[in-house]
Symmetry: C2
Subunit: 342 residues, 2 copies
DNA sequence: CTGTTAGCGCCTTCAT
DNA sequence: ATGAAGGCGCTAACAG
């Protein structure tokens, strides 16, 4: 049907040169107003569309940014992406999505692919190292492509990050449990090679110590973020001599599993056992026995990451700015841990 | 640091021409094996990366596909996108995400933007018409860019679609409520300009008629997909003379709101009142009073859409194929409507 | 103000 | 089997 029409087509029609057309279309100041109008009008009538690929090749900027996440179908990551998209859209950037499925090999592959695709920046949440770490990150930095970590960060020189204060989140949740009178608090953690989980754990530990409580290694269990993992954890924990009466879980899903298993065993929540999660997944609020959780403000995190990128991309290439934004976590206290209210 | 290196750089180094390098890299059969190996080796050593933008400009194919959804932070859409990404990734396509926020103006804008960005195809879930419909869709078809609708479809000539049988979904849910002994079933519907909601409604209506029940206009309320909307709907419904004893909701969130409001009024579920939702959002399964819902297999829907796109893109340009894939909905019966079990 | 020229990086006839 | 040349569509010097 309608063939692709270029600035040459409209130049020919107007007996002018393509450069003039280009200038007119780009609001170049030194062009006669009359010709500008004429060009714009005929361009519209011919249904001309600028070829962004040509522009990208010419300028070296694709106007695409890459976003790498472990998976997209989690409320947290989807919300972050929403924030990124909304912040970047007005600036003319398109968002390319990549998933790692928690496989660092896929992560490296995605990094290379995005660089190949000439993205103008990469925003990502790293995955735990499951494979050989080749120089993918180094490659990105070498190419001078702005790289920004959100939530799951890595300590790399010259790389900015937007995270929440996970230590504080862990501390707040644990302190809350202590305030509710829990005296033996267990912790469901995640992959310790990820800083977020390490920091949540450290916050938990510090809260215990600050309150004169004893930290016990055996009360910390590393689990996957799944309902089943939470159930299994309860099984383990209840078989200990020092039976815990509360859990601070780094995962809402594990917290849910724990709650389900506790109910199964007719242990009343929150009277006999308190549970808090992390991430403030929608379902934690919806449950009849709503679950206390730490909110990470994912939408804000996405927007902030995008803003950090925009700052970065505007600067002169020579100066490497490293910005570390740390957002405040927010504890949402709900029924699963409120003895005072219920 | 490391400058962008091109085929010319490696050609110079080897005292051959760029064309030869290009051929060697592309496994052109008429190239000496020794030079091929040499080229590939030095390319690797120089850390050469093909510039996809140049390739795209040359070939006219960007290897990007655009995905347009109302919003990304809903489990359904995020899961569809996950499916699309997973199916397309092995074929070398990148996925660009766009959101409409249920605004048809944004939808048109996104369509134009994607076309401008020279995407090789567009997969989308349409939004209700909230603004003037300009020729955005027509424009896409004119450019011969494969367009595939998923879930929320539009009847346009030559456009393929992947949907579920919403009529059947509505029918199944309603029939189930009837089987459970409900005799006055209300329906929470959505924007009737969207076929999915119209079809769910029609399925509901047909089920009533097939069972010799009376369809009453007043029992159908159009609501937004939100918890609050569900609560308000209950208020309206309970004030009717013919007070309903069940709801088939086209939205899980509205169903949840309805349940919350019913509990507030001490109406027991499912004994006095049954509720079913639609979409099988994760929380429907997690609730203590789990919610019956219709699953739309979003992951499969995404993969299927991607496959339809791949078929389309391979064909010779001249033939327009229009494929309508209809997936089967699956009713997940849970506590909110199981009188027999509980 | 506008035309001419050149080049972004790659591929692909056409020669040789 | 390889070199030379042209072009994908656009912009940015450099002229005039």
């Amino acid at each position: 049907m309608s063939e692709k029409i270029t600035i040459y087509d409209i130049a020919k029609k107007l007996n002018i040169t393509a450069a003039t057309v280009s200038r007119a279309l780009n609001n170049n100041p030194k062009i006669k107003e009359s010709t500008r109008e004429l060009v714009i009008k005929t361009a519209a009538s011919m249904n001309y569309k600028q070829n962004k690929l040509a522009l990208a090749l010419k300028s070296g900027r694709s106007n695409n940014i890459g976003v790498i996440v472990p998976r997209i179908d989690s409320n947290f990551f989807a919300s972050v992406i929403r924030g990124i998209e909304e912040e970047l859209h007005p600036h003319g950037y398109q968002v390319i999505i990549c998933q790692t499925h928690e496989d660092s090999k896929r992560e490296n592959e995605n990094l290379y692919t995005l660089i190949d695709a000439q993205v103008d920046g990469i925003l990502m949440s790293v995955t735990a190292v499951t494979n050989e770490n080749d120089g993918a990150f180094h490659n990105v930095l070498e190419k001078n492509v702005p790289l920004i970590f959100f939530d799951r960060s890595k300590n790399i020189d010259g790389v900015s990050s937007v995270t929440i204060n996970d230590f504080k989140g862990g501390y707040m949740a644990t302190q809350h449990l202590i305030n509710e009178g829990c005296c033996c608090i267990a912790h469901l953690s995640g992959d310790q090679s990820l800083e977020i989980f390490k920091n949540r754990f450290l916050g938990y530990k510090q809260a215990l110590l600050d309150n004169g409580m004893i930290f016990k290694e055996e009360l910390v269990i590393s689990v996957k973020s799944s309902v089943d993992a939470g159930k299994e954890a309860i099984e383990t924990l209840l078989s200990l001599e020092t039976r815990p009466d509360a859990i601070f879980s780094s995962s809402d899903f594990a917290a849910l599993g724990a709650i389900q298993e506790l109910k199964e065993r007719h242990i009343s929540i929150p009277q006999e056992f308190c549970v808090t999660g992390f991430s403030n997944e929608p379902f934690t609020k919806f449950m009849e026995l709503s679950i206390t959780s730490v909110d990470q403000s994912p939408l804000e995190m996405g927007k902030m990451s995008a803003r950090v990128f925009l700052e970065q991309v505007d600067k002169t290439e020579t100066i490497k700015i490293e910005k570390k934004v740390v957002l405040a976590p927010e504890l949402h206290i709900r029924k699963s841990s409120s003895r005072t209210d219920s």
